[in-house]
């Protein structure tokens, strides 16, 4: 929780990840292209802290840049600008060798437990590989460590010689978690860890991750489009839209009183498994689709779909500012004096 533990494990300052898709050259013009250089601003100036021992949930729709942000923290994608500090070191500027050393502390759990495990390796080798790479154990001790890790995540050590295809989706995700845990990391990026799983298995994996966090004092960045799951596991939640963080607050406040118009729409769109509530509630239905992250809208990226947008929103890029205690939002129409967007006249 924020107030009891104030030290940041990860500190992002104006982090940017851009992908240059080219274009704008001679061929682009003669083939009827726009003639503009096309740049995807996947992560566009993100600043926040992840506190030691907390779970920070990161939500947003597909294409908002949440996975890219997760990958950038582990430098699995090149960082274009800004800083990503981990225990005093800037991940963006470490040499490859220094970075490789840090990967022992920074691990990742992937969405697709089918694609992220090598089908030709036994479970023992999959979990054992990072242990050997970082020379955390040698000889028989590796197998012992693998077996222990398997039991921690709820897999029987009898399966050590089996291959991934012999396991169900939920069990494979346990293997993925075991591989991340094998090197005793401090920080784990979990990118949609439950999205590919059945409902009854999702709860198992969420509970496992929470137990492991308590036991091993882990810090998580939990990336998901499933707002109900994020609310359940996270201490604080960040909402992302087209490369930017639009709101950041404790889970409870963001779900009970979202401030940013996008967060409001996003949260109101989540179906509630209760017919009585569903009957009464009013949804904010957003018009249209998320705009393309290639050359996104100017000013506030959300202005094209926002019912409260004024001409200024097209020009001014809103900054993430504190609106209420520990509750930040990036919208020029709200302020600590005027936190409720509903009180602002519609245009």
């Amino acid at each position: 929780m924020t107030e009891t533990n104030g030290n940041a494990l990860i500190k992002l300052e104006d982090l940017r990840v851009y992908y240059d898709l080219g274009g704008g050259g001679f061929f682009d013009k003669i083939t009827g292209g726009s003639g503009e250089r096309r740049i995807v601003k996947a992560v566009d100036g993100v600043s926040f802290d992840i506190l030691k021992g907390e779970t920070l949930g990161l939500v947003g729709e597909s294409g908002c840049g949440k996975s890219t942000l997760g990958k950038a923290l582990l430098r699995l994608t090149e960082i274009t600008g800004g800083r990503a500090m981990y225990s005093g070191k800037d991940i963006a500027h470490l040499s490859d060798r220094e970075m490789r050393e840090q990967r022992k502390n920074l691990q990742m759990i992937f969405q697709d437990p089918y694609a992220s495990l090598n089908p030709r390796m036994t479970v023992g080798n999959i979990i054992g590989e990072p242990i050997r790479t970082f020379k955390l154990a040698e000889g028989d001790a590796v197998e012992k460590k693998v077996a222990e890790t398997m039991e921690i995540v709820g897999l029987s050590r009898r399966f050590i010689k089996r291959y991934p295809h012999e396991f169900s989706g939920g069990q494979r995700q346990r293997i993925g978690i075991a591989r991340a845990l094998a090197v005793d990391p401090e920080f784990i990026v979990a990118d949609e860890p439950i999205s590919a799983l059945d409902v009854s298995i999702q709860a198992q994996i969420m509970n496992l991750m929470e137990d492991l966090q308590t036991e091993k004092h882990l810090t998580y960045l939990f990336i998901s489009h499933d707002l109900r799951a994020v609310r359940h596991v996270s201490d604080r939640v960040a909402v992302m839209y087209l490369g930017e963080i639009v709101e950041l607050a404790e889970g409870k406040s963001i779900y009970e009183e979202p401030l940013h118009p996008y967060s409001k729409a996003l949260i109101s769109a989540v179906p509630v498994p209760d017919p009585e509530i569903e009957e009464k509630r009013e949804r904010i239905i957003l018009e249209g689709d998320v705009p393309s992250p290639i050359n996104p809208p100017s000013g506030c990226h959300f202005h094209t779909r926002c019912q409260y947008a004024i001409p200024e929103c097209r020009k001014v890029e809103p900054k993430l500012v504190q609106i209420k205690p520990r509750h930040y939002a990036a919208c020029i129409r709200i302020s600590p004096e005027q936190p409720r967007i509903e009180d602002v006249a519609e245009v």
């Binding site: 409902v199 009854s200 969420m206 409870k252 179906p271 509630v272 689709d289």
Partner: protein
Amino acid sequence: MSENNGNLLTVNDLRTYFQTEDGVVKAVDGISFELKKGETLGIVGESGSGKSVSNLSVMRLIPEPPGKIVSGDILFDGIDVRRLSDEEVRNIRGKRIAMIFQDPMTSLNPFLKISTQLMEVTQIHLGHSREQAYDHALEMLRKVNIPAPEKRIDGYPHEFSGGMRQRVMIAMALSCEPELLIADEPTTALDVTIQAQILELIKGLRTELGTSVILITHDLGVVAGMTDKIIVMYAGKIFESAPTKELFAKPANPYTKGLLKSVPDPAHEHGEPLYQIPGLPPDVANLPPGCPFAERCDRAEEICEREFPPFVQINENHHSLCHFAKEVHASSGGE
């Protein structure tokens, strides 16, 4: 089964089996349900529960072999679907019964213009001329809120976003004003804000056209707001069927209860462990003799592993497949 009692669709003791290397998979094993005109039925279940196969059976879309509808009746508006010739089925499918699938990219032909694909439906089923079909296609795109339809109609599927493709699929499905729309995980591949748009669209069109809907999903939140009644499937069987409000308020099956409890509730405080159903969904090719859910069930007793449970009637419209259905029902509610 001669009368249809105002039912648009009556499925009685349907069994669809698949011949596989691991033996016979009883994907759907003796399910029965009814759907009245204008009603919306939700079918909920995890992967492998048989929820999709049961509806593919209704549409006669089961690949044969390896699959086969082994027994049962499917009555659509008094017509015995199983006895129809392939030709006759094609006349119903797409016209009176339409279907939308989870992945709108794989269900649209990437090589054909949206207009061609939309026009085909009414040219075949309603005998439209090219001009009539084009106008109709345009009107349908307008109805599903595609912006600037006169510009988009001659585009190709890859030029549309996921949500827009699903709108095109819905436009196509509703072109002939079908009496029954089967929507198989129609929003699973979409983002929540787009999901909300699509669900609102289906709701609106349902009211406007009076279409009956079968909504297949794994998301209990989606069925809560959309359906009149719900069937919960597990291992090819109906585990529980009830009117939507009753199912959520007073479930009579431990599996349903477990599913409901394992959905994170935003009102709950962070830090409380989430209820979890232990174990894994069963291997449908090798089901135990007793209740297929017994080994994961917190209510199971010795009888559950030995004997297949009865389909107990709780009240007029509420049934549960459980040895202890009445006790489970009595202990539900107020949680």
